[in-house]
């Protein structure tokens, strides 16, 4: 058992913090709210130059190959600053999956591009379905490739990406493809989401995908989408860890200064204890997230650990964001004060790629299977 954070990882985290802080003061963040795609291309360039986009990309493709755990550390820092940097869809869901399941040619073509700042995103969710291994989106084999039809939702950076990684069902066989959002048959419709950011619905109508843009088929495709699900959930947990830690600390300092009845409100136990409860929650989220991330990092089975982490993620997000806003009073919901942005981001993540109720149900079914099999 070893909880040591490697020195190189600590320096990655420090470097990331420095860069992200430079790009995430309140005025800068405002520019990406609402009707704007939440993507700061200057920040992305700076991250590329610092080598931070290639943490989980092999060296020959321009990365530093520090692995998945290091990448989750970056996700945590992005969460902590709420910076407009789409690390989860681009670096985890898309690049991470390509790295592990793509053909050599695709890896050669896209991983170095991503490390250099190009955008490849992923579309993992559909209406009522957050499991990309069982998509309603369908595919037909055509000459030289596949024709894909269906709808994906809440896709980050769909209109900026050079390719979008997604899955489809081809007569009971799964395929994972890279779609060109400019291809014929692709319709992007803007969707404003809780996080107060613009995402897209992608409607695909017989979109032709050439064979060389197919990432995986059959059992490999299922493995790829299971990996993508687990890695994405874990990265979301890491982002949540940063977000919640920041919300709690903002709340700790605000309540230490805000006075009512002639004293700092933090000196009321009912206030300080609520923040202390956030501390306990966040400690739990940190531990289960680290467990999931280190298992994925080592290529070990991680499904149960990831499910547990994402359940904590949803619960902690809910409690910490609610407590933070409550302890701020009106200030917490004022759009000129930074807290609201963290709360909205947290709720977005809470609802993405499996929520607490759904995953608890799933975990319970697995427990029942395990014990019925043994009885």
């Amino acid at each position: 058992m070893d909880f040591t954070i490697a020195e190189e990882l600590a320096s990655v985290q420090q470097l990331a913090q420095q860069i992200l802080n430079d790009f995430s003061d309140v005025e800068q963040l405002k520019a990406f709210d609402g009707e704007h795609v939440r993507f700061d291309s200057k920040l992305w360039e700076a991250l590329a130059e610092a080598g931070l986009l290639g943490l989980d990309i092999p060296e020959p493709q321009g990365g530093t190959d520090l692995g998945f755990f290091a990448l989750t550390a970056l996700c945590e820092e992005v969460g902590r600053t709420a910076a407009p940097a789409p690390v989860v869809p681009v670096l985890v869901s898309a690049a991470g999956t390509l790295r592990r399941f793509g053909s050599d040619a695709l890896k050669e073509q896209w991983l170095s591009a991503i490390a250099g700042g190009s955008i490849v995103t992923a579309a993992l969710e559909e209406y009522g379905n957050e499991d990309p291994a069982t998509p309603a989106t369908s595919a037909k084999a055509t000459e030289g490739g596949y024709a894909v039809s269906g709808t994906k939702i809440c896709v980050s950076l769909a209109d900026q990406a050079q390719r979008i990684l997604l899955s489809a069902n081809c007569d009971g066989q799964l395929i994972v493809a890279l779609i060109d959002p400019k291809a014929a048959g692709v319709t992007l419709s803007p969707q404003l989401v809780t996080a107060n950011e613009l995402r897209h619905e992608i409607a695909l109508d017989n979109v032709q995908v050439p064979a060389e843009d197919i990432v995986a088929t059959g059992a490999t495709a299922v493995d790829a989408m299971n990996w993508a699900t687990q890695a994405t959930r874990t990265a979301l947990c890491a982002s949540m860890l940063g977000l919640c830690d920041k919300m709690m600390r903002i709340t700790g300092s605000y309540t230490s200064e805000r006075e009512q009845f002639g004293r700092a409100i933090a000196t009321f136990q009912s206030v300080s204890h609520r923040v202390a409860d956030c501390y306990i929650d966040i400690e739990c989220l940190r531990l289960v997230t680290q467990q999931a991330a280190s298992l994925i990092d080592q290529g070990r089975p991680a499904e149960e650990a990831v499910t547990i982490a994402k359940i904590w993620c949803g619960d902690v997000a809910h409690r910490v964001s609610q407590a933070s806003q409550h302890c701020h009073g009106g200030t917490g919901v004022d759009r000129d004060y930074p807290l609201f942005r963290y709360c909205l981001q947290a709720r977005q993540i809470e609802l993405s790629m499996g929520n607490s109720a759904q995953l608890t149900g799933q975990l319970g079914e697995e427990i029942a299977r395990e014990f019925l099999a043994a009885s």
Binding site: G252, S256, A266, I280, I308, I311, G364, L372
Partner: protein
């Protein structure tokens, strides 16, 4: 980062688990049916405790010059976890919390007598801090000790002195400076042999096991039984309480309850046909338990690991106390709900599920959130030490 037990740690875990099966003899299980002997004290308990001493299991993490093995906190935790899981009434507070403090601070002769005795599994020590008017606010305790030549004369009353009914000594906090301005600075620690004239003990019945009130009427003990500096007791109390925390909320004991309930639910028929575990609300409760257990396990491991790296962060120690205690209580409820009304049948009554173990745990569980330092005080500590918030008034 690799949050798993190493092969050697797993081997230790298995070894202790197997060993403890030989400690939990049928005679001991029979003896523990007596409410007063549930938490130790009977002849079979004494026999097995001494056997653990003879087999070298007591004091794994103590320094070598005390006869310990100087194992890491992680290994100590693995041991503690397995012992608690086995259900043996191992006197942890004696072995893990008080004995090391005595080893450091007691007079040589007493050290040999008491620490040596603990090592051999022959000595148990009760903790005498709380009083009728001093629970959370320990600094306000009033039992007093006065110097008389080479001796001390002790007068007062302690409340909730658990295990005093069979303990060989009481680890007693007494006031040696009556100046009210010196609340924390006027306390001194003593070891009172329970056969000293003037000492007495009466039972206090709680929702579960027995605890005691202890009385000190002109109890005269030699100065050799004073531990540490005169008026320097507070430091010893707090360092003892810190060590105590990691053995209170171990993962194994509640994990085994979870497994037992899930096994029971997989074997037992549900009214709607199928098995109890096939009902979605049962699955929901089991899943909630599992989610909480996983965090508890890693938190315990993490804290043991941190103790090996240096002193444990105060806010983190309090986090484990609050999380552990509140999760235990929640877990008892979630698991009991799976059993329905039959879950309320107490041990030894016909129909008791899992020998009424969970029913008992849940009933006595209410002590967890205030015993060993109330959760309010722990939250105060977290806010101050973990978040730099101002002290509450």
């Amino acid at each position: 980062m690799n949050i798993e037990l190493t092969a050697a740690q797993k081997a230790l875990q298995t070894e202790v688990r197997e060993y403890m099966k030989t400690v939990m003899t049928p005679e001991l299980l029979e003896e523990m049916k007596d409410d007063d002997l549930k938490e130790g004290g009977g002849p079979e308990f004494r026999k097995q405790y001494a056997r653990m001493g003879a087999d070298g299991w007591i004091g794994l993490s103590w320094p070598k010059d005390l006869g310990g093995k100087e194992l890491s906190h992680i290994e100590q935790y693995i041991f503690t976890d397995e012992v608690i899981r086995s259900g043996f009434a191992y006197p942890f507070l004696t072995t893990e919390a008080v004995a090391p403090v005595l080893a450091k601070n007691a007079n040589d002769e007493v050290r040999e007598e008491v620490v040596g005795g603990v090592k051999r599994g022959e000595v148990t020590i009760a903790i005498g801090y709380s009083e009728p008017n001093a629970g959370t606010d320990l600094a306000s305790l009033r039992t007093k000790a006065e110097r008389d030549g080479d001796d001390w004369v002790i007068n007062g009353q302690k409340m909730w002195t658990s295990l005093a009914n069979y303990a060989d000594y009481v680890w007693l906090a007494a006031r040696t400076d009556p100046d009210p301005d010196k609340k924390h600075k006027g306390l001194t620690m003593f070891l009172v042999p329970t056969d000293t004239p003037g000492y007495s003990c009466t039972p206090v019945r709680t929702l579960g096991a027995r605890t005691n009130a202890t009385y000190y009427e002109d109890v005269r003990i030699s100065d050799k039984y004073r531990v540490g500096e005169i008026n320097g007791g507070w430091k010893l109390i707090t360092s003892q309480l810190n060590v105590e925390r990691l053995s209170l909320f171990t993962h194994g004991q509640v994990h085994s309850l979870y497994e037992s309930v899930a096994e029971w639910a997989a074997e037992t028929k549900a009214p709607s046909g199928g098995k109890v575990i096939e009902q979605s609300w049962v699955q929901h409760n089991l899943a909630r338990v599992k989610v909480g257990l996983e965090a508890l396990k890693i938190m315990c491991w993490n804290q043991a690991w941190m103790m090996d790296q240096g002193p444990l962060d105060m806010a983190k120690a309090s986090t484990a106390k609050v999380y552990g205690s509140e999760f235990f209580v929640e877990l008892y409820r979630l698991l009991l709900e799976c059993m329905g009304g039959a879950g309320s049948i107490a041990a030894h009554s016909p129909g008791a599920i899992l020998q009424g173990k969970l029913e008992f745990r849940w009933r006595v569980g209410s002590i967890l959130t205030f015993g060993g330092g109330t959760n309010e005080v722990q939250r105060d500590i977290i806010a101050m030490a973990g978040l730099w918030m101002p002290r509450t008034r």
